[in-house]
């Protein structure tokens, strides 16, 4: 199951348990049993718990090991049948004794994803896909002369830009992986948080040009255009797979950007998308140069 679905189902469970806590706050077994409306509301939320547990499937045991998942799924069947209505005391016991361990386990499982919410992950995945699509479009069908053309001798050719992008992608993903191995640095969070606009503005700020780090400077490793594009696609696919699967604390680990200083690992994933967009603009500038070779 894609992680996003599991996260949603765990959230459904957590929200239902929280509702049940709110419904029954301050109640005793006796006052609960005398309150038909609350019983009905609790039963409904327990059904949601059971349904979400069913949808979790095998992920349930993997994410929250040791809970009686078969039994949790099974309660829906007990609650559905009016003729077998469960004893009120049994429901109360479920509220006070069955749900707390479930809540603890679900909160723990969700904590793995705490720092990269479903919305954030979605956003970065879309950005990675969109920037790759733009890049592939802008380099589609170029002639050998066009690949090698330079506006001035010291500027990069399109081939060199694509090579740089492939190198940069691998370099940054490696740096992210590496940063995640270290301890979390919560003290850096306030600083990185103010840098979103810098990261996002990266693509448009073509007037501010940075010099590439030595390690990501193109050296002509892949001569063939198709080979270059294949390398870039491979590198991007690795980033996407990482962004899709990671449960690491991306907002708690940092490494410095050449111009912006410390960025957290989530911001770095966004840099990858924006950085590619930035070079798409550069390629468009090259293609607009009066001396650019014709087709």
């Amino acid at each position: 199951m894609p992680f996003r679905d599991s996260q949603l189902h765990l959230n459904d469970i957590l929200e239902s348990v929280k509702s049940i806590e709110a419904f029954t706050r301050g109640m005793s077994c006796e006052s609960f049993e005398a309150d038909a409306k609350t019983i009905a509301a609790v039963e409904r939320k327990l059904q949601v718990v059971s349904e979400a547990a069913t949808r979790l499937g095998d992920d349930a045991e993997r994410l929250c090991p040791g809970l009686p998942w078969h039994n949790i799924r099974g309660i829906g069947n007990w609650l559905r049948h009016e003729y077998r209505r469960v004893d009120k005391t049994t429901i109360w016991n479920t509220v006070v004794e069955g749900l707390p361990p479930l809540k603890t386990a679900v909160v723990d499982a969700l904590r793995q994803w705490r720092l990269i919410g479903a919305g954030e992950r979605q956003m970065v995945l879309e950005q990675l896909a969109a920037s790759e699509a733009r890049l592939l479009e802008v380099v589609d069908g170029l002639t050998a002369e066009q690949w090698r053309f330079r506006e001035t001798p010291e500027r990069w050719s399109i081939a060199e830009i694509v090579e740089h992008l492939a190198l940069f992608e691998g370099f940054i993903l490696g740096a992210i992986t590496n940063a995640l191995k270290g301890p979390t640095e919560d003290d850096k969070k306030p600083l990185a948080a103010g840098k979103e606009h810098l990261v996002l503005g990266l693509a448009d700020a073509r007037e501010t040009k940075f010099k590439a780090r030595e390690v990501v400077r193109p050296v002509g490793t892949w001569s063939d255009a198709l080979e270059l594009i294949a390398e870039l696609k491979k590198a991007r696919a690795r980033t996407v797979a990482f962004a899709m699967e990671t449960k690491a604390d991306l907002h708690g680990h940092f490494f410095p950007h050449i111009a912006f200083g410390d960025l957290d690992c989530y911001q770095w994933l966004r840099v990858l998308g924006q950085h590619m967009n930035r070079h798409v603009l550069q390629i468009e500038e090259i293609k607009a140069d009066p001396a650019y070779p014709p087709f």
């Binding site: 009686p68 039994n71 099974g74 309660i75 069947n77 007990w78 077998r84 209505r85 004893d87 016991n93």
Partner: protein, 130 residues
């Protein structure tokens, strides 16, 4: 003949179910348990069930009446020890465990929750396991 090939269509409640796969599926899960076999199996697990909070357990429904068909669930009703504070998860777990013990699908009922008129009929035909 293989046990699961013995399929008998019950009058009434299963009318309109025309899916062969459903029948075959249910037939595969069939059992040919006599009432006495069910009782014997439950009694041999009495100690475990008592520990789990079952104070009294009785068989009722078609198995108690001796009308065993390939589709029968084994209907059981129990009294439970209030000091065990059983919750819904425990009840489901108990039902699953009872199915293992009996070797057939089980529906477990809390005796005090049975409503008229089912209650009267159930009490009349119930056979106490322990």
């Amino acid at each position: 003949m293989a046990e699961w090939l013995v399929i008998r269509c019950k009058q009434g409640e299963n009318e309109g179910v025309d899916s062969l796969s459903l029948w075959v599926h249910e037939a595969r899960m069939s059992h040919d348990l006599s009432r006495d076999q069910v009782l014997a199996r439950l009694r041999s697990s009495r100690e475990e069930l008592t520990r789990a909070g079952v104070v009294r357990l009785a068989v009722f429904g078609s198995v108690a009446r001796g009308e065993i068909t390939a589709q029968s669930d084994v209907d059981l009703m129990g009294d439970f020890d209030p000091s065990k504070r059983l919750n819904l998860f425990d009840m489901v777990g108990l039902e699953l465990r009872l199915a293992e013990i009996v070797g057939a699908r089980v529906e477990l009922f809390d005796r005090k929750m049975l409503k008229l008129p089912i209650q009267l009929r159930a009490e009349r035909e119930a056979v106490l396991a322990f």
